[in-house]
């Protein structure tokens, strides 16, 4: 399966939810504003994440990146503006309606946020156990997800026994149970060594290119941007996943970049456009000098 074939799937009617019109963005922010006391966190933020697209959100600490994710999950309410998930305005939703929306969203936290008192199996099975799914089905789904993140051997371990990278991967497996349409990554590679960070990015790439998932990837690490916007995943004839690099003849259409500064979007476009910008703040952020 080539990257372009994947894109054909993303925009084909058969690949969309029957009740959602074709072309409806997976996530849409319309003039969203948020402030804590006198401190403005987001100021008229508007953007869309089309279906099957990964939006990389860059920005320094305190720029409002993680707040965007909390708003999508309904953990924080905006002061003004609208947030639409698959065309549905979640802004006026109460907790019960938000629970329904959250079931369609997978969330990968910075440190994994695994439940300390539960084993890896129980953590990954959590969402299905809560829904009262049959035990055999739960086991099948959990093992499928642990295979996806290559952690089948850790099924009986407790979170405390796992390394930082393993915790993040279990967090990803837990987020993917139930096949969510949207996955949110909140700095999932923070504090990890480069090979492990690369593994986490590869999982995000696999989700984007092979699983038809829309995602927001919050990060401030430039190597994440490099991996996500230049590599793509393909399946060979045996069904094995391979990662290939974007070449001269191939343009990555399913990855967008957005940059925040003090609650305002200061850049929106592709990785190439970001690198070509002459804005001194962005240049300093990219090069570190």
């Amino acid at each position: 399966m080539s990257l372009f074939e994947t894109h054909q799937q993303l925009i084909s009617p058969s690949a969309t939810n029957g009740s959602v019109p074709v072309g409806t963005p997976a996530i849409e922010f319309q003039d969203v504003e948020l402030a804590f006391d006198d401190q403005i966190v987001l100021d008229k933020v508007s953007f869309t994440v089309p279906k099957g697209v990964t939006k990389i959100v860059l920005g320094s600490s305190g720029s409002g990146k993680s707040t965007i994710i909390n708003l999508i999950l309904g953990l924080v309410r905006p002061d003004a503006g609208r947030i639409l998930i698959a065309g549905e305005d979640i802004t006026p939703f109460d907790d019960m309606d938000l629970m329904r929306i959250r079931k369609r969203i997978g969330m990968v936290f910075q440190e994994g946020a695994l439940f300390d008192s539960l084993s890896v199996y129980e953590n990954v099975a959590y969402r299905l156990d809560e829904q009262g799914v049959d035990e055999d089905e739960v086991e099948h789904e959990v093992m499928r997800m642990l295979r996806f993140v290559d952690l089948e051997d850790a099924v009986d371990k407790m979170p405390i026994e796992l390394s930082g990278g393993m915790r993040r991967r279990v967090g990803i497996a837990r987020a993917l149970v139930g096949n969510p349409d949207i996955v949110l990554f909140d700095e999932p590679t923070a504090g990890l060594d480069p090979p492990t960070a690369r593994t986490i990015c590869e999982l995000a790439i696999k989700l984007r290119d092979l699983e038809d998932v829309s995602s927001i990837f919050v990060t401030h690490e430039m190597n994440n941007l490099e991996y996500l916007s230049s590599d793509y995943a393909v399946l060979d004839r045996e069904g094995n996943v391979h990662f290939e690099q974007e070449g001269n003849n191939l343009c990555m259409l399913n990855t967008e970049v957005m940059m925040l500064r003090e609650g305002v979007i200061i850049f929106s476009g592709s990785e190439d456009e970001l690198k070509a910008t002459r804005d001194p703040y962005i240049r300093r952020f990219i090069t570190g000098k």
Binding site: L73, L75, D95, M99, R102, I105, A113, R127, E130, G132
Partner: protein, 256 residues
């Protein structure tokens, strides 16, 4: 003024938390397993300290009351004095304070740690209400187990008082038991069950609220634990005063 506003705001938030728990009772899943686990942790886990507290409180009551009774030649009423003081007041209050210290701190520390490690956010992101999954089982477990712990503390308090009266003052055990039976009324027993139920609610809801309100990392967890224990202990003592008055009036028929 700001203190009053802060108090009212907190009261509103605690009320909201409690209301969410009550609303969630009719929804599935109901987490019976978690309630049983919490009852084991809170009830069985606190039995030792509550029994010890009751035993020595009964003993100290005899120690303090006996000389006065002896002065008036009323040593045969020692059991009555211990029973009245222990069952009406000291049993429920001291048990609640012990549980507030042991369990209230544990609840706020656990929930506070879950907040700072984003486990509460993860739970909400996975479509589970922390109020239903974490708060309700703890409150129910406290409401059920605190009266049972109080009964255990009362019993061991009476035993402690009897043993001390016999050992130090050679009081006949039969006289002591007879005096205890004379001094124990149905109203006292009812009050010693009703009060701990209210105390359990207070400890549970305040400890959970303080834990869920944790901010500022591990330092914040410590602050939440202190606040949970201090606040719930104060409210237990305040509630005890008003409950005693209400129950006294209710049982004597002068309430309305």
């Amino acid at each position: 003024m700001s203190f009053i506003i802060q108090f009212l705001t907190e009261l509103q938030e605690v009320g909201n938390l409690l209301w969410r728990c009550i609303k969630g009772l009719k929804k599935k899943p109901r987490y019976f397993g978690e309630i049983m686990r919490q009852m084991d942790l809170i009830g069985v886990g606190s039995l030792g300290i509550c029994v010890l507290t009751g035993f020595f409180t009964g003993g100290v009551l005899v120690l303090q009351v006996y000389p006065t009774l002896d002065y008036y030649g009323a040593t045969s009423n020692a059991g009555q004095g211990v029973a009245t003081g222990l069952i009406r007041e000291l049993g429920p209050v001291l048990t609640a304070l012990m549980v507030a210290g042991r369990v209230g701190s544990a609840i706020s520390a656990e929930l506070g740690s879950m907040v700072v490690s984003q486990q509460i956010d993860a739970m909400r992101a996975l479509g589970t209400s922390p109020a239903r999954k974490l708060v309700t089982p703890r409150i129910i477990a406290l409401i059920i187990t605190l009266p049972l712990l109080t009964i255990a503390a009362d019993m061991f308090g009476l035993i402690g008082g009897g043993l001390l009266a016999n050992y130090l003052h050679s009081l006949d055990p039969n006289i002591y038991i007879s005096s205890v039976r004379t001094g124990t009324h149905v109203e006292d027993l009812l009050a010693s069950i009703l009060k701990p139920m209210v105390f359990g609610l207070i400890i549970g809801v305040i400890s959970c609220y303080k834990g869920l309100q944790t901010t500022g990392g591990t330092v914040g967890v410590g602050i939440s634990v202190t606040k949970a224990v201090v606040t719930s202990s104060i409210y237990v003592i305040i509630a005890d005063f008003f409950l005693s008055k209400v129950l006294q009036s209710a049982f004597s028929g002068t309430m309305f």
